[in-house]
Assembly symmetry: C2
Homo-oligomer: 433 residues x 2
């Protein structure tokens, strides 16, 4: 049963508890395992990757079997339905169109005294995408990671995903990878896959940036290799916060909450509403929709532990609580969502109105579904083209321009006790004695 | 003596050794100390901060003495020279002008069927800036961190810096903070300062993003708290790579190499040149400039361990080696730097021509001097306004638009085994039975 509490209760503590649900004390123990895997792969390459694939994924492979072949890709196209291929292609087009908007462009500014300043954007040489296996092997994950890399014009896009029985990979995942421009696919997963991408092995190329979600081992490995390579974020379990008023449809709100809860027993689904009747009706609708839910047990767990309805006094109060929680997904199922939008400061993605369930953004609206979780929306954003781009500052001074600032640089460098800094300017601007 | 090697020698291995100079095996040991500090501050707040300030910084302070007062700021203005204040203000203006260019703006796109998609940019609520103490207490560090936060319109900008004898802070640092819009300054440093900013204490506010350079303890602390808060990067020791041809002035090139080496015994200074005579002349000029260098011992260490001149066959070969090294700072002291620029893929900042020593960018050209080190320019960029901004995706679908994609979402959600995802769309688009 989805709990209903009022704003008078200790709402902030409850929301904090839900936000902090991933900070588990076992992390340190798991980190030791992950460190061992990283070190082994760094030192022994393929040998270690194959060892851990046998140990953790229960698949005995040879190094030459790690890479997915062209004929496997062809076979995957035979295995997926025409409808699924069509849906993947529609999603591809819409995600690409969105990501092509406002891609950062190189620029220079010509100032006084022939000073030229600017930024030059370039893609990383190699991107590595992690796609989870098993129940969470989602073609949409592939699209949301590969398409931004493709739009950023990354020359080499590599994907890794854990092997299933017999080394098999979900055909929908393979088709999505092909459609989204992935060039190489390796059947490896877990911390050993992150290590292989970060350090390189005989078979798997070292990349510059690693993106994509994974379990706690993958996330810990990404955190540990950060600095050796770039990463997108440290993804936690998914979450939705819905703000609804008396005009919302309780059956739809309940479905949206369940669409989050069904991901994972750690998923969070929160409703903030001004209307007590809606609260009650969502609670009832959710119970009914759970009855024959194919993932009932896990979904109920999520609802029981990290589900919550809060009765709030006003939409403004709801916006403020939402800002404190900084949800990954925020739905505004209210009469005038655009009026509330200016009060929303922290949210990964915002879904406005009655006809915008989160699922539309999960699959094909266009914006990325890889979003900051567990309060990270306070400081982080969706994965995007920028994840695969970086820029170099461009600076060109003329002799005149340097002369004009030489005195100021001398004063600053001297104050900082850096004589050669001052000297490098002085020697260029003062007559040699 | 700065070594000269030819491209035939194992140049790549040498450059790799220099690039990897921070990956020291003692890190794990230090990490244990840092973890302990983080845990203590998280649990005990001010008490732990004061304890570690006494232990590591040798300053016994009370909680109410941590914050720098208005009268201390006033006193700092009396202590700095008129020239230094003028130079700080000139730097402020130029840094601010550069950072105000191309600040990301919120946007929406109105598509078919009343679909609205976009991105809304908002600043973080609170930024925390770390400024090192002691010999590396640089006013320029303050400006380069605080001004982007100020341009991003961050409402609360907090600075921390370790206390010197009697709790004193370098007056130039205090003046720079005031000029750059910092609102609160606390005299704490090290891992305990990072912990205080990440978790908050009775006295020090919890922030959303922490930026700024520091020693290995600070860097490890930033890596460990990443995920609880955002961070700018994991800064290592500084480095410069100069590409010079026969037209470069060897005295200037030598001064530029020393300007890097004087920072730190771990700093790296590399020259790639097509001209053997220049190589020899830079080597000699550098020896001469070192003779009465006030930081001679440390600077010589850097030059001996991480200094290198490589004779290359062509500028193209130099560009390729530079890309592999991905330097923090790259100087192009060649006849036509703009002709070589398209071949440069990875560099934090690029200084073009004979009159653009790195020092001009370190202090006041405008672009940020907080740049990716140790090869991180392969995937990362300068600190900037973006470091303090994040965006929310905006998605609004109409009933018609949802109807048009309902089939595709159904296929995708079903393929991914997420029935409530499909259900949340189906219930909105199908006639209720």
């Amino acid at each position: 049963m989805l709990r209903i509490i009022t704003q008078q209760a200790d709402v902030r503590a409850e929301l904090q508890r839900i936000c902090d649900r991933t900070h588990d004390e076992q992390v340190l123990h798991k980190e030791a395992t992950v460190r061992e895997v990283l070190q082994a792969v760094k030192r022994q390459g393929d040998k270690a990757v194959l060892h851990y694939t046998a140990e953790f994924d229960k698949q005995t492979l040879k190094a030459e079997e790690l890479r997915v072949t062209g004929s496997e890709l062809d076979a995957a196209y035979q295995q997926v339905s025409k409808e699924l291929l069509g849906a993947v292609r529609l999603a591809c087009r819409q995600i690409e169109a969105f990501h092509r908007q406002r891609v950062p462009k190189s620029w220079v500014h010509f100032g006084d005294d022939e000073v030229v300043l600017g930024k030059r954007y370039t893609p990383v040489d190699r991107a590595g995408l992690y796609v989870p296996g098993g129940r969470a092997a989602y073609p949409s994950t592939v699209l949301m990671n590969a398409i931004p890399a493709h739009v950023a014009a990354v020359p080499h896009i590599v994907m890794v995903t854990p092997p299933g029985p017999g080394g098999a990979i979900n055909p929908a995942v393979l088709v999505a990878a092909q459609e989204a421009g992935v060039q190489e696919i390796y059947r490896i997963g877990g911390a050993q896959a992150i290590a292989a991408l970060a350090y390189g092995t005989e078979t798997i190329p070292k990349v510059d940036v690693i993106t994509g979600p994974g379990n706690i081992y993958v996330t810990l490995a990404k955190k540990l290799v950060y600095g050796t390579v770039g990463i997108d974020s440290l993804a936690g379990p998914s979450e939705v916060l819905v703000i609804a008023d008396e005009t919302a449809n309780p059956v739809h709100v309940a479905a949206d909450l369940l669409a989050q809860a069904e991901h994972d027993p750690m998923a969070a689904a929160i409703l903030l509403t001004t209307d007590a009747a809606l609260a009650k009706n969502v609670q009832l609708a959710l119970e009914r929709q759970l009855v024959d839910h194919p993932r009932r047990i896990d979904t109920e767990k999520a609802i029981a532990h990290y589900g919550l309805i809060v009765l709030v006094e006003s939409l403004e109060a709801a916006a403020e609580l939402s800002n404190e929680f900084a949800p990954e997904h925020l739905e505004l199922e209210i009469k005038d969502p655009w009026a509330l939008l200016p009060q929303i400061r922290h949210a990964g993605a915002i879904f406005l109105g009655y006809s915008t369930p989160e699922a539309v953004g999960d699959y094909l609206a266009g914006p990325n579904h890889t979003l900051p979780t567990s309060g990270a929306a306070r400081y982080a954003s969706a994965l995007g083209v920028e994840t695969f781009l970086k820029h170099s500052s461009i600076i060109q001074y003329s002799q005149t321009a340097l002369q004009n600032v030489a005195g100021a640089i001398d004063v600053l460098a001297t104050a900082e006790g850096l004589p050669s800094h001052a000297d490098s300017v002085r020697r260029r601007t003062q007559q040699e004695e």
